[in-house]
Amino acid sequence: MMLKKTIQASLIAIGLILLLAACSNSADNVQSGGGDTRGESKELIVATGADPTSLDPRKTWSGPGYSINSHILEPLVFREIKDGKVEIVGVLAEEFENIDEYTWKFTLREGVTFHNGVPLTAESVKFTLESILDPEFNSPLSQWIKDIDEIITEGDLVLYIKTKTPTRGLIGGLAQVPIVEPGAVEELGEEFNVKPVGTGPYRIVEYKPNNSVELERFEKYWGKPGVNERIKFMIMPENAVRLAALQRGDVHIAENIPSDKIEEVKNDPNLDVYVTETLRVNMFVNNFDNDWMQQQKFREALSLAIDRELLVNNILGGNTIPASSVSPPGTIGFHDELPIYEYNPEKAKELLEEVGYDGSVIKMGAPAGRYAMDRQIGEAAAGMFEDVGVNIDLEILEFSSFVPKTDEGYYDIHYIGVADLTINPYMHWIGYYNSENSEGGYANPEVDALMEQAIQTIDDEVAIEIFKDIQEILYEEKPTLPLYYEPHMVGVRKGVRGFEPRLDEYIIVRDAYFEP
C-alpha cells in the first residue's frame, strides 16, 4: 500500500518536472530563436566540433577557429572553388600581380574599414604579416609565409612583398592569413584573443570559451552583406550530441557528422546532409628506417593488400573516393589520369615471397578521433595486411599522443591525413617526399630536383607538368600509400538555403539562412 503511494507520488513529481521543463523550454525557444520557431529571429546557429581556443587569427590552429574567423576577418586573397578546382581570388586585395620572380604587388580595395571604424591600409597588412613572422610571437601561421623577406608599403593601398626565393607558393600561403587591426591588437592586448577586430561581414559580439561564439552583421561591410543578422556557433565536441542537437532543431547546421550516422541523417525527413571529399589525403606513411620498408617491392605489396574501394564503401559509407594520387583532386596539377591504386592480394603475396619477407613484426600506428572513422580504418587495413601474411603489431592512440610517436619514427607504418590548403601540392609534399624533411625518410634526388624546380616556377602551365611528373614517380615508388580523400560531412536542417560545403573543410555560412 505504502509502496503504491510512493510510486504514485514519484510519478506525479516526475510528470510535474517534465511539464515545467517543457513549458520553460518552449519559452526558451522563442526567446533565443531556438527550436523550430527560429525562422523569424534571423539567426543561424551552427554546431561546431571543437572550441576555437583563440579568435586571434594569428594564433588559431583549429578547424573551427578557421571557420569562425572567416566571418570576422579577411585575408588578402582566398580560395574559391570554380568548376571543381580551387582557385585563389582577391579579397582585401583588389589586384595582385607578380612583378618579378621575387616580388608580388598588391593593391588593396578602397574604402574598407575595420569593425572599430579604422580604415584598412597597407600598414595594417604589413603589421599582420610581420607580427606573424616575429619568432617571439610564436604563430603557427608563420610556416605559410616564412619565405617573406621584406614588405614595402607605397601610400595607403599599395604593398610589395619580396620573397627570399623565387616562389609560386606565397599567394596560397597568404590565403591562410587574415588581416588584423593593429590599433586594436595594441589596445586590447590579450583580450584580442576573444574580441578580434577584422574587416569581415560579421563582427564579434561575444566569445564564451567552450560554449559559444556569437557574431552580428557588420553594417559597414565593404562587400555583399551577410544574410543573417546574427550567427551563433555552438561548441559541441561530442559527435552524437551534435547530431542530436540538429535532430531536435537546437541548431541549423552541424559539422562533421560521423560516417556511420549518414544514413540516419539521410532518412530523417527534417534533415539534409552535404558530403564532399576534401583537400586532405589520408594515407599510410612508410618508415624507411625499417629494412623491409626500404624495398620498393615490399611497399608495393602493402599497397596491393589494401582494398581501398572496400574502405571507402563499407567504412566511410561511400562518402568519398579512393585515392589515385598523393594529391587531392582540386589542387593545381592534380594528375587525373592515374588509376586508383590497385588491390590484388595474390600479387601482394607473390611480392612478399619474392623479397623473402620472414614474418618480422611491422609496427603500425593509427590515431583515434581525429579523422572520419580513423580507428576503424586503421583496424581494417591492419587486417588486410595480415591477410596477405604481414605480421602487424597495431597501436591506436588518441591523436595528441599519436603525433609525437610518428614524429620520433616509432612506427614502421602509420596512418595520417594531410591537407594542402595552399592548393600548391608541394606544401604538403615537403614533409613526406623531400629528402631533407621527409617524415618516413624517403629520398629521391630526382623528386627533390623536380620539387625545387616547381616551387620556383611561376607559370602555372609549366608547374602543372612538373607536379604531374612528381606524382607519377611517387605513384610508382610508394613512399606513402594514399588511401582516399578525407570526406567532410555537414548536416543541415531542411530549410537551410545558400550553404555550400567546401573542399578546405571550412564552414562558411555568411550566405546561408534558414527558412522554416
Binding site: 521543463a21 610556416q143 560554449n211 550530441v241 595520417i416 594542402d420
Partner: protein, 298 residues
C-alpha cells in the same frame, strides 16, 4: 601545513606525469605539414627543450609569485581561464549534489526502516543500477530520449535552468545511489543501538524516534561521504560536461589534455587539489556542528 604538502605533491606528480606520457604540444599546434625544424623551433619557444628539472624549477619560481603560466592553447593566463570556467562547474556540482541528497537520504532511510520488504529490495536494486550505469551512456540516453524524442529539454549547452536538469541528473546518479546505500546501512546500524530501544520503550511515536534520534546519528558517516563525493563530482564532471557541452572545468580539462596544454593542466590539478583540501576541511567542520564530542576529542 598538510594542505601545502598535498598541493606541492599534486603539482609535482602532475608535472612529471605530463612530461612522461607521449605527447608534444608543439607538433600538435603546427599542421601535419610542419617540418621537424619548425616543430623544434616551436618547442624552444615554449621552453619545452629544457631538461625537465629546469622546467620544474622555472615552474615553481613562477608559482611562488602566483604566476601560473599562460595556456599554450589559448594564450590567456591559465588561472583566468579556470576562474571563468569554475562557476559553471560549481553550479552543476551544486545541483547534482542537491538532487543526490534530496532523493538519496529519504530513500536510504525508508529502505532501512522497511528492511527486507519489497520496497527495500527495489531501492537496493535501483541503487546498484545507479552505481553501475556509466555516466557517458546515461547522458546519451537522456539526450536521445528526453531531448530528441520527447522534445522536452535542450540537448546540451549552458544558459537557462532547463539546460541544467539533464547534466545535473547524470552527474548525480552515481552519488545518489552511493548515498542511498550508505544512508540505508548507517540507519540500520543506528536502529540497533540501545538508545533507540530506550526511546521506543519510552513510548515515543515512531516518527519522532526516526527523525529525532535515528536521522541525526545516521547522518554522520553520510556527511563524510557527501563531502568526499563532492570532490569526486569534479572528476565525474569531466565526462558529463563534455557530453553536455557544459563550459566548466571538466570540459576545459578534456580540451587541455587533448592539446597537451601543460600549464593549463598543471593549474587545473592545483585547483582540484585546493578544492579537495577545502572540502575536507568543511567536512571536519560539519562533523563538529553535528556531533559536539568530535571537537572535544580532537
Amino acid at each position: 601545513m598538510q594542505a601545502v604538502i598535498v598541493l606541492i605533491g599534486a603539482s609535482a606528480i602532475a608535472f612529471v606525469l605530463l612530461r612522461i606520457i607521449p605527447g608534444d604540444p608543439a607538433s600538435l599546434m603546427l599542421s601535419e605539414n610542419a617540418t621537424e625544424e619548425e616543430i623544434q623551433q616551436m618547442r624552444e619557444q615554449m621552453g619545452l627543450n629544457l631538461p625537465i628539472w629546469e622546467q620544474y624549477i622555472n615552474y615553481i619560481k613562477d608559482i611562488v609569485v602566483l604566476d601560473f603560466g599562460n595556456s599554450i592553447n589559448r594564450g590567456l593566463p591559465s588561472m583566468q581561464l579556470i576562474l571563468e570556467h569554475l562557476p559553471a562547474t560549481a553550479l552543476l556540482v551544486f545541483w547534482a549534489m542537491v538532487i543526490a541528497i534530496v532523493i538519496a537520504i529519504p530513500l536510504g532511510m525508508y529502505a532501512a526502516v522497511k528492511k527486507n520488504s519489497l520496497s527495500d529490495y527495489i531501492v537496493s536494486v535501483l541503487a546498484l543500477i545507479g552505481q553501475s550505469v556509466p555516466s557517458y551512456w546515461l547522458g546519451m540516453m537522456l539526450i536521445l530520449f528526453i531531448a530528441v524524442n520527447l522534445n522536452l529539454l535542450p540537448t546540451s549547452g549552458y544558459g537557462s535552468w532547463s539546460h541544467i536538469i539533464m547534466p545535473a541528473f547524470t552527474l548525480a546518479i552515481y552519488q545518489l545511489a552511493l548515498i542511498a546505500r550508505l544512508m540505508r546501512s548507517s540507519t540500520l546500524e543506528v536502529l540497533n543501538h540501545d538508545y533507540i530501544r530506550t526511546a521506543r520503550a519510552k513510548g515515543l511515536p515512531e516518527i519522532v524516534v526516526i527523525f529525532k534520534h535515528v536521522f541525526k546519528n545516521a547522518l554522520i558517516p553520510t556527511i563524510t561521504m557527501i563531502g568526499l563525493q563532492t570532490g569526486q563530482l569534479l572528476g565525474g564532471a569531466i565526462i558529463t560536461e563534455f557530453i553536455f557541452s557544459w563550459p566548466g572545468i571538466g570540459f576545459l580539462t578534456v580540451q587541455s589534455i587533448q592539446a597537451q596544454d601543460y600549464p593549463m593542466i598543471q593549474s587545473l590539478v592545483i585547483i582540484s587539489a585546493i578544492v579537495f583540501v577545502v572540502i575536507n576541511l568543511l567536512v571536519d567542520i560539519a562533523y563538529a556542528v553535528i556531533d559536539r564530542r568530535i571537537v572535544v576529542d580532537s
